[in-house]
Amino acid sequence: NAGVIQTPRHKVTGKGQEATLWCEPISGHSAVFWYRQTIVQGLEFLTYFRNQAPIDDSGMPKERFSAQMPNQSHSTLKIQSTQPQDSAVYLCASSSWGQSNERLFFGHGTKLSVL
């Protein structure tokens, strides 16, 4: 089992450009989560899917961020018109069922740098 796979590991964009981040959850896991990690805010919840359906996107900045899960093997996080304040590590995680007591398995993250 390769674990949660995130690509790319590093992405540098210019201000105003688009960034697409990819996540492949652990095979068989039905819940996929996206978090943003910064020194100041720690781990901020963005959105999550269960059985590919969006369940909660309350952490997503609505105007420029969007997430999709077109099939059970991958999810994408897209940031349009990137801004310097979007610079962070974006972490994807998966769990078996998305239940309250379950362990999250995280990927290594994508470090986004917006110049």
Partner: protein, 117 residues
């Protein structure tokens, strides 16, 4: 909504001294699940401890924590810090979600523990 307040920022200790990272939470649910995740450099964050049982100590890798619902706390402790404990530590609370739709974790802001010789 649910929230977690934990020791945050930089925590520097000398090897051999005890570790104590505080975590308190707010939730409307009477049966919360609390977690500690650890993030070592160049690795993925991983689960360290979890509990939902009031006043029961849970242990792993030399760390321990006890959920106290009376004080809404889940402090992380270790009797003697090791150099290899240097990492980011996050306390997290699981919301109960809506019935049948699962739940998400709300994390604290994290504490960067540095253990020096």
């Amino acid at each position: 909504g649910d929230s977690v307040t934990q020791t945050e920022g930089l925590v520097t200790l000398t090897e051999g001294l005890p570790v104590m990272l505080n975590c308190t939470y707010q939730t409307i649910y009477s049966n919360p699940f609390l977690f500690w995740y650890v993030h070592y450099l160049n690795e993925s964050p991983r689960l360290l401890l979890k509990s939902s049982t009031d006043n029961k100590r849970t242990e792993h890798q030399g760390f321990h924590a006890t959920l106290h619902k009376s004080s809404s706390s889940f402090h992380l402790q270790k009797s003697s810090a090791q150099l290899s404990d240097s990492a980011l530590y996050y306390c997290a609370l699981s919301d109960r979600g809506q019935q049948g739709t699962g739940s998400k974790l709300s994390f604290g802001k994290g504490a960067k523990l540095t253990v020096s010789p």
